[in-house]
């Protein structure tokens, strides 16, 4: 059941480079599971989390194939979060900061996110019940 509460979260880290990404996705997942709406402002490297061109790969160290390795990509994790939001009938609004997207060539993303900017983050924060910024180092 929807809680009626909204969390806004700003993230900055590029995929696979920081434990922050894991924690951010865990927080978003937990929030959606609890029936909260979530606004995500993906700034800087975080815009790479949703790139459609991400591909899984085999693991030559373990000798596994692509199928065996089941290597997760962040775009798949994020797609799952959108699906979770839909199942829970809550809103996940994922904004990729447009200029950050442009300078990284990250504009071809999965279904779900939208292009935006700092004003979206400000507006979302003002309208939310809580705001959390997870900085990069």
């Amino acid at each position: 059941m929807a809680s009626g509460k909204t969390l806004t979260i700003a993230i900055m880290d590029a995929p696979y480079e920081s434990a922050n990404s894991t924690s951010a996705l865990r927080i978003i997942n937990a929030a959606l599971e609890k029936g909260h709406n979530v606004n995500v402002f993906a700034y800087e490297g975080a815009v790479n989390l949703t790139m459609k061109a991400q591909q899984p790969h085999p693991n030559p160290v373990k000798g596994t194939s692509v199928e065996q390795e089941q290597h997760p990509t962040t775009k798949d994790w994020v797609a799952s979060l959108f699906k979770l939001a839909s199942t829970k009938d809550v809103k996940l609004d994922w904004v990729n900061c447009g200029l950050c997207v442009d300078e990284r060539g990250a504009g071809d993303w999965i279904e779900g996110p939208r292009r935006g900017g700092p004003k979206d983050f400000l507006d979302a924060s003002v309208a939310s019940d809580a705001t959390l910024v997870i900085p990069t180092k």
């Binding site: 700003a10 900055m12 700034y43 800087e44 300078e103 900017g117 700092p118 004003k119 983050f121 400000l122 507006d123 924060s125 003002v126 705001t131 910024v133 900085p135 990069t136 180092k137």
Partner: protein
Amino acid sequence: MPKILNIVETAYRATIEEQDDTVLWLTHMLKNAGADICVLLRANAVNYAVRGQDASGLSFGENRMTHSPEIDKDVATMIEKGVAVYLVDEDAVERGLSDGELLNGIRKIKRRELPELLDQHEQVWHW
């Protein structure tokens, strides 16, 4: 509009990708969008308040960076626009910075005064 404090601590991270510090740039944008916002420089970011920073001259092959970051000018502009820019005094002293090296208008604050500064703001965003 809630009062927002942006805390900046990582410095010189994005010289290659930005002509600005990413969080100072964001602060400018949020201010332009109507935010009631101020900045606290701490840790290495206290160096952003030093006059005369010069990141010019970067080139890779034949490709030259034509607009290098001018962080001191960005901070000075922020102050002119009415954004309060605080700086942790002990962090500056530890880094050998004297008052004479700092931009005009920087507001020095002691570490022990940080909780009070945080209390004065509804949102505290630590970047």
